[in-house]
Symmetry: C2
Subunit: 318 residues, 2 copies
């Protein structure tokens, strides 16, 4: 009998990434799709299409795991609240099992990323871990007592919506809150604070880009910060400090062994992590603050796909 292989599919707000994954977590036969708009039917069709492409390369796969940008009731596999894709109310597992004629496992995409980091990445070996994925928004994942923690109805680990500023700006992406970590410290926030800093300091490299008509994104700020622009570095320091305040709450509430920072904005690396660690060291309670490691994610863009595959490999017992 050949080793067990599965398909992992990660669906974000803009694209789909999939692959055939074996028990050693080696990935082959990657598939990519971009959403072409459309409604629920088009989105589901594209997912099925991606699975079938991977399956054509590996007909022996035993199951499929999906990470989707929605609340998921893991008891039923139904999708709840979703900002980015029209999946709310879809009986996802049932429907996909029918269309694919394979066992299907499904969870929130951030939970899937946390799972990959826990089983084989930066949180490997930890019983208690948190993950923040900094992108357009901030996703979260929790492993508590060695297992993914989902709360009463799958709504837990929305760590991007831990409040850091009671009087902060309105949050984004369908969140009714104010001053949530997401609006204060996401990749989007890096771009917004970067634009403000470029206005204030027109002679900085960042300011020159603005004057040249470039859009000030989180990625551009990060690039200029790595190139040594003090203004851009100051923006990452500010964001890193805010991140540290959010992590302080997580550390005091949950005493994790490790907090993993992933997502596109972790391209800032130590320019974000150093100020975050400093704030936690200054503001969190001893001894929890001394017990936590704050580290970058091990898996980049593939964490969600790998985590989805791990769900399938572990047959949902995650």
């Amino acid at each position: 009998m050949s080793p067990r292989r599965v398909i992992g599919i990660d669906t974000g707000g803009t694209k789909l990434l999939g692959g055939v994954v074996d028990e050693a977590l080696a990935v082959r036969d990657r598939v990519h799709r971009l959403w072409r708009g459309g409604g629920r039917r088009e989105v589901l069709d594209l997912m099925v299409d991606a699975v079938e492409e991977a399956r054509a390369a590996a007909p022996d796969v035993a199951a499929v795991g999906f990470g989707i940008p929605a609340l998921v009731d893991t008891a039923t596999g139904a999708a709840g609240f979703s900002v980015h894709l029209p999946l709310e109310g879809v009986r996802f597992r049932e429907l996909m099992e029918e269309r694919l004629a394979l066992p299907v496992y499904v969870d929130n995409d951030s939970n899937a990323a946390m799972l990959a980091e826990h089983r084989a990445g930066a949180a490997r070996g930890a019983l208690h871990a948190a993950m923040l994925t900094l992108g357009t928004g901030i996703g979260g994942g929790l492993v508590l007592g060695g297992r993914l923690y989902r709360g009463a109805h799958g709504g837990a680990a929305e760590l991007g919506h831990v409040v850091v500023d009671i009087d902060g700006p309105p949050c984004q992406g369908g969140c009714p809150g104010r001053g949530c970590l997401e609006v204060m410290a996401s990749g989007t926030a890096i771009g917004r604070e970067g634009a403000a800093a470029a206005e204030r300091e027109p002679d900085s490299a960042l300011g020159k880009e603005l004057r040249a008509g470039r859009e000030i994104t989180g990625a551009l700020v990060t690039e200029l910060a790595h190139d040594g622009d003090d203004t851009a570095r100051g923006v990452l320091e500010l964001i890193g400090e805010r991140l540290g305040v959010g992590i302080t709450s997580i550390v005091n509430a949950l005493n994790p062994e490790v907090v993993v920072i992933g997502g596109g904005a972790i391209a800032g690396g130590e320019l974000l992590l150093e100020p975050a660690r400093r704030v936690v060291a200054e503001r969190a309670l001893a001894p929890s603050r001394d017990q936590v490691r704050i580290v970058p994610a091990h898996f980049g863009d593939e964490a969600g796909m790998l985590g989805a595959a791990i769900m399938a490999l572990e047959e949902g017992q995650v």
Copy 2:
């Protein structure tokens, strides 16, 4: 064989409360002590003395449970960081078992209170629950997946040190943080905001008390609020709203079924809880915000003692 009985001992920062507790959680033979100052030895002697008094009335007790105001390593029963009593570094369980010649169970006092509310109080039947005890400070407890959650090394559930204001005032009681829920919404904060409101509104009932030379405490503000003074009510509303911001973070991070509010300051009742619930309804994520009940504690001052007894009744398998 007679039913199993144990002694529960709750030690706060100012006093000790104990009792003999049976499997139906009926309490008899209560004992009280006030700390008379002194060091570690005097504190431990007073605890032993209280246990012996209860035991004289019920010589058949099978075990003793302690809730102590310290971090506790439940694997070893050793006390860690403690603000209120000189217990740091004491091998508490070992030492007490030697002095009492009985099995001893020990945990943090807030964990003990959460346990009592979970097993027989306001969080009964919930798999996922949080508790905040509003007093001089704010203690916290978590039940996740049906069991007390302690984190990696017993430091979890410090929910009073979830940050609500990134630029808030320095925290209290040995916490190096700023803008923690504890400094914003504890009983102490009610008194402090009450004093400020009394200054601002000298013709209010609260203002008149200040002019008469009375100290504006949380208890006085709460009493005048219940008597109908709008200024005092405004203070409880402000504190309740801040409490709601802290609960918003807990709801988004953990998706609990119930958040229990206890401690002396819950004397404010609905005058605190109504604004807290309103803020959670406005600011937390759906559907978690609609799934959580925010309720007053069922057990008053006796929650910690009962929880300590439950630890002993359940032989530490909490």
